[in-house]
C-alpha cells in the first residue's frame, strides 16, 4: 500500500513543474509543495498530494513530537494536577462530611430541646391535673363535712322534735286519763254509786290501753 503511495507520489513529482524539494533522507520522494493549485493568501497554501496521513516521511517527526508532548503532559498531570485535584476533592468531601455531621448534631440538639419542651408540657399538665384533683378532693371533703354536719343537725332536731312530741303525747295521755277519771268518777257519783278510786283507775287503764295505743 505504501509502495503504491510512493509510486503515486513520484508520479506527482514527475507531473509537477513547481518547486520540487527532495527529502535528503532519500527514503522516498514525496513532494508537498504547491503546483498548479497554489492559492496564496488562503492560509493553507500547500496542496496535498495524495493523502497526507500516509506520507511516511513525516511519521518520524510526528511520533517524536507526540512522544515528547505525551511525556510532558503525563509528568505535569501526574505530578501537579492530579494530586491537587485529589486533595481538593477530598477536602471538599471532608468539609461536606463535617458540615453534615454538624447539621446532624444540630438536629439532635433540636430534637432534645423538643423532647424537653414536651416533657415540661406534660409535667405542667400532670401538675395542673394534680392541683385540680386536690382542689376537688378538698371541696368534696368540705362538702361532705357540711353535709354530715347538716345531717347531724337534722337528726338532732328530729330527735328533739320527737322527744317533744312524745312529751306532748305523754302529757296529753295523762291529761286525757285525768279528764276521763274525773268524768268517770262524776258519772259514777251521779248514778249514785260509790266511786272507788282504785276500781275506776283499773277500768280506765283497761279501756285506755285499747284506745290510745
Amino acid at each position: 500500500m505504501f509502495s503504491l503511495l510512493q509510486e503515486a507520489a513520484t508520479t506527482a513529482v514527475g507531473q509537477s513543474d513547481g518547486a520540487v524539494v527532495v527529502d535528503d533522507t532519500a527514503t522516498s520522494n514525496v513532494v508537498v509543495t504547491g503546483t498548479e493549485g497554489v492559492r496564496p493568501g488562503v492560509g493553507q497554501d500547500v496542496e496535498a498530494v495524495g493523502l497526507p496521513q500516509l506520507d511516511m516521511t513525516t511519521f518520524g517527526n510526528q511520533i517524536f513530537w507526540l512522544i515528547v508532548t505525551l511525556v510532558v503532559l503525563y509528568l505535569v498531570l501526574s505530578r501537579v494536577a492530579l494530586p491537587r485535584i485529589a486533595a481538593v476533592l477530598s477536602d471538599r468531601q471532608g468539609a461536606v462530611t463535617g458540615d453534615l455531621m454538624a447539621a446532624e448534631e444540630f438536629k439532635m440538639k433540636a430534637r432534645e430541646a423538643e423532647a424537653a419542651y414536651d416533657k415540661a408540657l406534660a409535667d405542667a399538665r400532670t401538675e395542673a391535673q394534680a392541683i385540680v384533683a386536690q382542689n376537688r378532693a378538698t371541696i368534696q371533703g368540705q362538702l361532705d363535712a357540711a353535709i354530715a354536719k347538716a345531717d347531724a343537725e337534722i337528726a338532732a332536731r328530729t330527735a328533739e322534735s320527737e322527744t317533744r312530741i312524745r312529751e306532748i303525747r305523754v302529757s296529753a295521755d295523762a291529761s286525757a286519763r285525768e279528764v276521763a277519771r274525773d268524768v268517770t268518777a262524776e258519772l259514777v257519783r251521779s248514778f249514785g254509786g260509790q266511786a272507788d278510786e282504785a276500781t275506776i283507775s283499773s277500768a280506765l287503764d283497761g279501756r285506755m290501753k285499747g284506745a290510745v295505743q
Binding site: 533522507t25 493523502l51 497526507p52 496521513q53 510526528q62 517524536f64 492530579l82 491537587r84 476533592l89 477536602d91
Partner: protein, 249 residues
C-alpha cells in the same frame, strides 16, 4: 483526483488541511523539525495543562468555572476506570487521564478554524493506540503471567468450539490497536474533509446559503464527535485494561 479543480471556481481541497509542513521556511521534514504538528501538539498539551493545573490553582472548596470543568474531567475518567476496570485499575489513572485530556483537546483544537488536527493523523493515533496495546499486554502478562492467555481460551464455551473462538479472539485482540487508531483518525479526517467540501460548495452563489448552513451543522456535529471519540477512546482503553487485569471471562 478530488483535489483537482473542476472548473468554474469550484475547487475542493479537503486534504490540504492535513499536510505536515515545517513551521519555519520550506525545508524537508526531518524527525526533529518543528512543524505545524509540533505547534498544535504543544498547544494541546498547554490547553490540557491550563485547564488541569491553572484551573485548579485556587484549590477552592467551592470551585469556580474552570475548576469545576477540571474536576468534571477528573471525575469522568476516574469513574470510568472504577466502573469498568475495577479498583485495581485506578493505578493507571494518570495515564488514562493523560490520554483522555490529550485526545479531547487535540480534537477540539482541531476544530478551531485554520487549525491543524493532530488526531487526524494515523501516525499520532497509531502511537496512542499502540501505547495502549503494548501497555495493556505488558500489564496483563506481569499481573497474570501465563493466565493472561485465558483471555483467548474461552472456558465457558464447549471444548469443540474453543479453538475456533481462540482464533477469533486472537484476531480481535490484534485488530484492537488498528481499530482504535483508525476509528479516531477516520472520524477526524471524515468530519474535517466533509466540512471542507461543503465550504468548497460555498463558491457557487446559488448553493452558498445551503453550504454555509451545512458547514455550521457539520461543525456542531464535529464538536459532539470530538467529545464522543475521546470518550470512546478512553472507555475502550478501560475495557482493554479490564481484560488485562481480569483475563478470565
Amino acid at each position: 483526483m478530488a483535489t483537482e479543480a473542476t472548473g468554474g471556481g469550484l475547487e475542493f481541497h479537503p486534504m490540504d488541511q492535513f499536510v505536515v509542513r515545517p513551521l519555519f521556511g520550506d525545508g524537508a521534514v526531518a524527525w526533529y523539525t518543528p512543524t505545524n504538528v509540533t505547534l498544535w501538539l504543544a498547544l494541546t498539551a498547554l490547553a490540557a495543562i491550563a485547564l488541569l493545573v491553572m484551573g485548579t490553582r485556587g484549590r477552592a472548596i467551592v470551585p469556580n468555572r474552570a475548576q469545576s470543568v477540571a474536576e468534571m474531567a477528573y471525575g469522568l475518567v476516574y469513574k470510568m476506570i472504577e466502573d469498568i476496570a475495577g479498583k485495581d485499575g485506578l493505578r493507571y489513572f494518570p495515564y488514562v487521564l493523560t490520554l483522555f485530556m490529550f485526545v479531547v483537546f487535540a480534537n477540539l483544537l482541531g476544530l478551531v478554524p485554520m487549525a491543524f488536527t493532530v488526531t487526524s493523523h494515523i501516525a499520532v493515533t497509531g502511537v496512542l493506540a499502540l501505547a495502549v496495546f503494548f501497555g495493556v499486554t505488558i500489564i496483563g502478562f506481569v499481573k497474570n503471567g501465563a493466565h493472561f492467555l485465558d483471555l483467548f481460551w474461552v472456558r465457558s464455551a464447549p471444548l469443540a468450539v474453543r479453538p475456533i473462538l481462540a482464533v477469533i479472539e486472537v484476531i480481535s485482540y490484534f485488530v484492537r490497536p488498528l481499530s482504535l487508531s483508525i476509528r479516531l483518525a477516520g472520524n477526524m479526517i471524515a468530519g474535517h474533509a466533509v466540512i471542507k467540501v461543503f465550504a468548497g460548495f460555498a463558491a457557487i452563489a446559488a448553493v452558498a446559503p445551503i453550504a454555509i448552513v451545512a458547514v455550521i451543522g457539520m461543525y456542531a456535529f464535529e464538536v459532539l464527535v470530538a467529545f464522543v471519540q475521546a470518550y470512546v477512546f478512553t472507555i475502550l482503553t478501560c475495557v482493554y485494561l479490564k481484560d488485562a487485569l481480569h483475563p478470565s471471562h
